[in-house]
Amino acid sequence: MTTTTTTTTTPRPAPPGVRWPLVGGVAVALAVTVWAALGIEFTLAPLFTDTLRGQRIIAQFLDPDWSYVVRVLPAWVETLSIAVVASVVGCVLALGAAMLASRVTAPGTVVYQLAKAVLSVVRSLPDIAYGLLFVAAVGTGALGGIMALVLFNLGIAAKLTAETIDAVDPGPLEAADAAGGNRVQRAARAVFPQIAPSYLSYCLYVFELNIRASVVIGLVGGGGIGNVISVELSRFRYDRLAALVVALFVVVFAIDQLSRAVRRRLV
């Protein structure tokens, strides 16, 4: 049964018109996608036609050479050492940089702006770019890897720490000022105790990242297990690679879990 309402109320508002900018935007995105795919002659064909060629590789991959993982133990140790040294050096530098890059602790607006700008430049390069840069500068080996990771860590840890400093309780800072302390004393006695747990947590986080990043940096000549992977890849030893990849997964996962457990206790 239908009921008809005869009482006319105010006229209903007309729906808004088509949002042409949105339609245009989607159309442009589609066009760019098609153009890009055509440009690189994108096709899924090799997935079907070339699978047989990959059969041998996959077979090797499924038969990992586990003993190799242990044979390259020194390389694993080197990767861990690179990560540890880079984390410690990077985080110590980051604490100083963060103090300069926060309005709360910076000695002046000029220093603050400058520190912010430098840090954002440091962050703009990815880890592998630093790897290529330092391996070219100091040659292959752990030193180049460490230097690359130090800069990578500095960028991340300093930004996170500076943001934490921005948010500290200003009360103790006022007390330090009122007691006649100088800027450095205020940073050390009123700011640092407040940010210490977060800062340590960032250091551990950066260490987690370093385990992964040190492999990538090893690929470009920065030493450690990444170097081994790079060599085995060029020798087509997929059985060894498979074992290394699985071992890497286990190591990274274990360190992440450990670091996370410690971090939870910190904050």
């Binding site: 007390a175 007691a179 450095v184 050390a188 006695r189 105790p193």
Partner: protein, 254 residues
């Protein structure tokens, strides 16, 4: 001695904090500043150690000019002026002892502060200060684990350790319950007497002001509208300072 001569403070947002204040506070006096919130009590106290800069006029603390003082000069002035805050301003994660040691910053080399290795003499001063406020056994407790009253006592110990001649207290009992507030003011008064502090306290409870003050300064709209002894400050005077009749909210007890 603290001397204000026609001191004016205008905040960057245009708000007038102090409007031509003339005051002389002799050594050893326990002065309570009363007034409604926004009357300039807090500004008055905070100009003394330069936390709020003076816009015009002349302000001297023990013969040193606070107005126009540079960073180094300001630190030297602040070394002689301790401060207690409404929200205690302790580093909550740090130990009570570390908080009290903050009072020694003005006389501590920067490297010692950075490495956290205070001089033995300064540690002893800090312990003695804690003893005076009766919580020396809490020295290694985290400040956050103490009650509000205990935290304010730590802040008082910080001022004692500073060995300053002038003590400023900006609403020191506003976040405390009545019995604790009385206890804290009693401590302030007793310690100020023992150590010869010149104490300037902001309060907004009339009964507390009358009970503890040697001298009451009433403020309204950035100006001093009453300056006299606690006995002279009767209800009529407070109504004059507050610009309205008194209510139950104006007293702490009852």
């Amino acid at each position: 001695m603290i001397t204000f001569s026609d001191v004016r403070v205008t905040y960057p947002n245009g708000v007038r904090g102090l409007d031509g204040v003339d005051l002389t506070i002799p050594d050893g006096e326990f002065v309570v500043v009363v007034g409604l919130s926004g009357a300039g009590k807090s500004t008055l106290v905070r100009t003394v150690n330069g936390l709020v800069p003076v816009t015009s006029g002349r302000l001297e603390v023990d013969g040193r000019r606070v107005d126009g003082a540079g960073r180094r000069e300001l630190r030297a002035i602040r070394a002689g002026v301790g401060m207690i805050f409404q929200s205690f301003n302790l580093v909550k994660r740090a130990s009570v002892l570390d908080n009290v040691l903050m009072g020694r910053l003005h006389d501590t080399p920067t490297w010692r502060s950075v490495l956290g290795v205070p001089r033995a003499a300064d540690r002893e001063l800090a312990f003695a200060a804690l003893e005076r406020v009766g919580i020396v056994e809490k020295a290694y407790t985290r400040a956050s684990e103490l009650s509000g009253g205990q935290q304010q006592r730590v802040a008082i110990a910080r001022v004692i350790a500073q060995q300053a001649g002038v003590v400023l207290a900006d609403e020191p009992v506003a976040s405390l319950d009545p019995p604790t507030a009385n206890q804290v003011l009693r401590d302030l008064k007793r310690i100020g007497g023992e150590l010869g502090h010149t104490t300037v306290v902001n309060l907004h409870f009339l009964d507390m002001a009358r009970r503890y003050a040697d001298r009451i300064i009433g403020m309204r709209a950035g100006a001093v509208v009453f300056d006299g002894s606690a006995e002279q400050a009767d209800d009529a005077v407070f109504e004059e300072i507050y610009g309205r009749s008194l209510t139950a909210d104006d007293v702490l007890l009852r």
